[in-house]
Amino acid sequence: MAEIIDLVLLAMLAITALSVIFLKDLFTVVMLFGIYSFLSALIFVNLDAVDVAFTEASVGAGISTVLMLGTLALTGRKEKTNNHKAILPLLVVCVTGGALIYGTLDMPPFGDPNNPAQQHVAPRYIQDSPQEIGLPNMVTSVLASYRAFDTLGETAVVFAAAIGVLSLLGLPKQDRAAIQSGLQSHIVLRVVAKMIIPLIVLFALYVQFHGDYGPGGGFQAGVIAAAALILYALVFGLPMATHVVSPNLLKALAAIGVLIYAGTGVVSLFLSANFLDYNVLASDPVTGQHIGIIAIELGVGITVFAAMLSIFYAFAAQAERKNIQ
């Protein structure tokens, strides 16, 4: 049964990608990309990657789509007719694709438990991590403990990307006099948003602190919390949103998250262990691991939240400036 679902979903994904090529209306392209992300999330669930599916659904279909729509608002929604020939790109793609297909023939069979990828470190993670780290979710154990150094790098990249966007576009100034903007006149949207936003924030907190036991964690929680405020900004206008969470606070939060993460590593250094070795954070190793993971997941969540929201603010401020002109 799982194989048939896999077959159908992947075919749908291919069709979506194909239709993106032929469409000229960029609004439709972006919407299709949202669908593409949701389909990918479904496939990830089917392939047992629940944490990844969670992330793809909130990031790919949520934040990416909003940012792309924001860009379209500034650059126009029609792709102009293409006057250069499609033959050469098609040829390049066919040759590369043919070579890659030839390469896949040597790939080990899909789903075989004896594949090389399943032999290396994975058995150790699967057998030992629930006892060693004390968490049932192995993805969190690997992400936050065994490969914490990697995740520190990824968090720093998110932070750096936010700095990049802010230096390109700049953050909005906090307006004292809140201008009437957004979708204020749509009463249904306003009431529904007021009801939903607290629930989204609550859910984000649940995902943040329950990530050790079920799917979730700092990355997803940060994105979901940012989505709540993005919804607020869309409905009540950017000036109102900057009253709730000021751009300056976001700048500080983005840095504080990375500092919490790296600081946890430094604390373990001072307790005469390796960088990001949480075993020494408490009297027994499992409790130490638990404290360490909660601390760094919190750091990740704060940075991702601040980075995503400040990126959105930067785009929204551009759009607002364009409307005023």
Partner: protein, 118 residues
């Protein structure tokens, strides 16, 4: 039949990758190029997750009575890659906004006579 089932996921991955690649090199509009890059990127995610799947396995969250789990390592790599992916996409989109402001267009063929603006 088993040959097809064994490689189907990888073929779709190659197809998606090439669809994304084609959009990147053939599309004229920069926003569409970014969509193409994202499709390319997602195809790589799909490949990693396909490699980590074990037939008969379940999600790598320890539970009683379950012995086979899929490989958690690709999940970790891709989970972080998705978030980094959206952050870098945002940088790309921000560059497009600046290009629009400097050149007045985001269509690649319209830059040709405006090169001295830099």
């Amino acid at each position: 039949m088993s040959f097809i089932v064994d490689h189907y996921n990888y073929w779709i991955v190659v197809f998606l990758m090439m669809a994304g690649f084609y959009i990147v090199i053939a599309a004229n509009n920069l926003v569409k190029k970014i969509v193409g890059l994202n499709i390319f990127q997602t195809s790589v995610f799909m490949m990693y997750i396909s490699i980590g799947k074990v037939t008969g396995g379940t999600a790598p969250i320890a539970a009683e009575g379950i012995t086979t789990y899929s490989n958690p390592l690709p999940h970790v790599l891709i989970l972080t890659a998705i978030v980094v992916g959206v952050a870098t996409t945002a940088v790309g989109l921000a560059l497009i906004v600046r290009i629009k402001r400097a050149y007045g267009t985001v269509e690649e063929n319209e830059f040709e006579d405006k090169e001295d603006l830099i």
